[in-house]
Symmetry: C2
Subunit: 210 residues, 2 copies
DNA sequence: ACTATATACTGAATCTTGCAGTAAAGTCAA
DNA sequence: TTGACTTTACTGCAAGATTCAGTATATAGT
């Protein structure tokens, strides 16, 4: 029987609607462009177009490039209809998985250097992606967008990513400053700085943007 | 043979270090307190303490409450050592999964109402958690923290969450204002507003905090 | 000619989630 | 005090997703 399409299926289907792609291109394009809103493994992304074919949302045909075979996927009319219907379904709740932040919550099991190290790792991961998206925006201005009619969407999407990256980077700085004041990671409890902080947060005020 | 501990194992182990818990308490406590840095399913969280026992990081004993049996887990010395070692290992890269933001990127497959609906759903999900954490900070000030010596960690952790929530909420507002200017979701391309936005982003400036 | 990197995938084991199911304990109201 | 509803306290199983290893061709640079 036919499998059920997941959010990942529709994400891949939406890319397929732009043009026909090979499995390889689709997989890598999905990783590049969806990484920060819908991160999925290479393996899964290779399986999705197959599922789309089973569902009747796409067709495959094989192209030879030398001795190699490449699977080229094309969206069907039924696929376009399904995509359109998807837009009015409910979304899944957001999910933020950030181990470095977890390490802060449990920082008392290790040294100050340990937590600071975790923050450094987070900073470098975020920094890479931050830089990449800033450069992408430059390329839209210079060379244009690969699908020009979609520029308004890509740029609004990028705005989200940049705001998130900036916020995470600002918090990392703030956390470092805070940790630098700690003599140790353990048993500090409600310090005066912590109390000030808690008071701000309880009034829903941002301690990072004074 | 012994299973390998995952990040989730250590997250549960860190909770176990605070006091002995039953499987039920542990599961629900983990969902409440780790939701926004390490969201895991109830099912997985029930399995983790069993794995900890297999690893020698915890012990179980059964307590009767009437006709019921509850599994009570306690951390071992070896578990404490393992926790301590964990703090100096590398963290996994961050992962942000937000379907509503994906819907913005592919908004051209549906109506303006569809995207705006997705944004409403995101706003209400975030709003709930935002409110909960603000109230939690109030409770730390009034009634204190359940593990008072850890207040400095919880509050720094909460700062992260509040900053993220505020950023997402500000972006939702911004996105709504932007979408309200669109006559349709499709084929707008590089509008003058989009160009202004792209120019700001390419210079790594925030369009939300003018 | 050789090496490294990119292309182009697949199978299998393991990890994780979602869902259904079971059943006792507690709570409140008629 | 009986009945209805919620909370406590889990487990089994199917399906979804990730990780890892493996296979093999194409291409670019030295």
């Amino acid at each position: 029987m036919a499998p059920t399409p997941t959010t990942s299926s529709f994400a891949v289907l939406a890319l397929l609607d732009l043009k026909p792609w090979t499995g390889y291109e689709l997989t890598h394009q999905a990783q590049r462009s969806l990484r920060y809103a819908w991160p999925k493994s290479e393996r899964l992304l290779y399986s999705e177009p197959k599922k789309l074919v089973e569902l009747g949302f796409a067709t495959v045909h094989q192209e030879a490039s030398g001795k190699r075979i490449r699977n080229v996927y094309t969206i069907t009319e039924e696929g376009r209809r399904a995509l359109n219907e998807w837009t009015s379904t409910r979304t899944q709740p957001p999910r933020l998985e950030i181990e470095a932040v977890l390490r802060v919550l449990f920082a008392d099991h290790g040294s100050r250097e340990d937590v600071l190290g975790a923050l450094d790792e987070l900073e470098s991961d975020i920094g890479e992606h931050h830089q990449a998206i800033v450069e992408l925006m430059g390329s839209y201005l210079d060379g244009g967008h690969p699908f020009p009619q979609r520029t308004h969407l890509s740029v609004l999407f990028a705005t989200f990513q940049i705001e998130m990256f900036k916020t995470i980077e600002r918090w990392i700085e703030f956390a470092r400053d805070e940790i630098d004041e700690w003599p140790t990671t353990q048993d500090l409890g409600m310090t005066s700085r912590t109390e000030t902080l808690a008071r701000l947060l309880a009034q829903d005020q941002s301690p990072l943007n004074p």
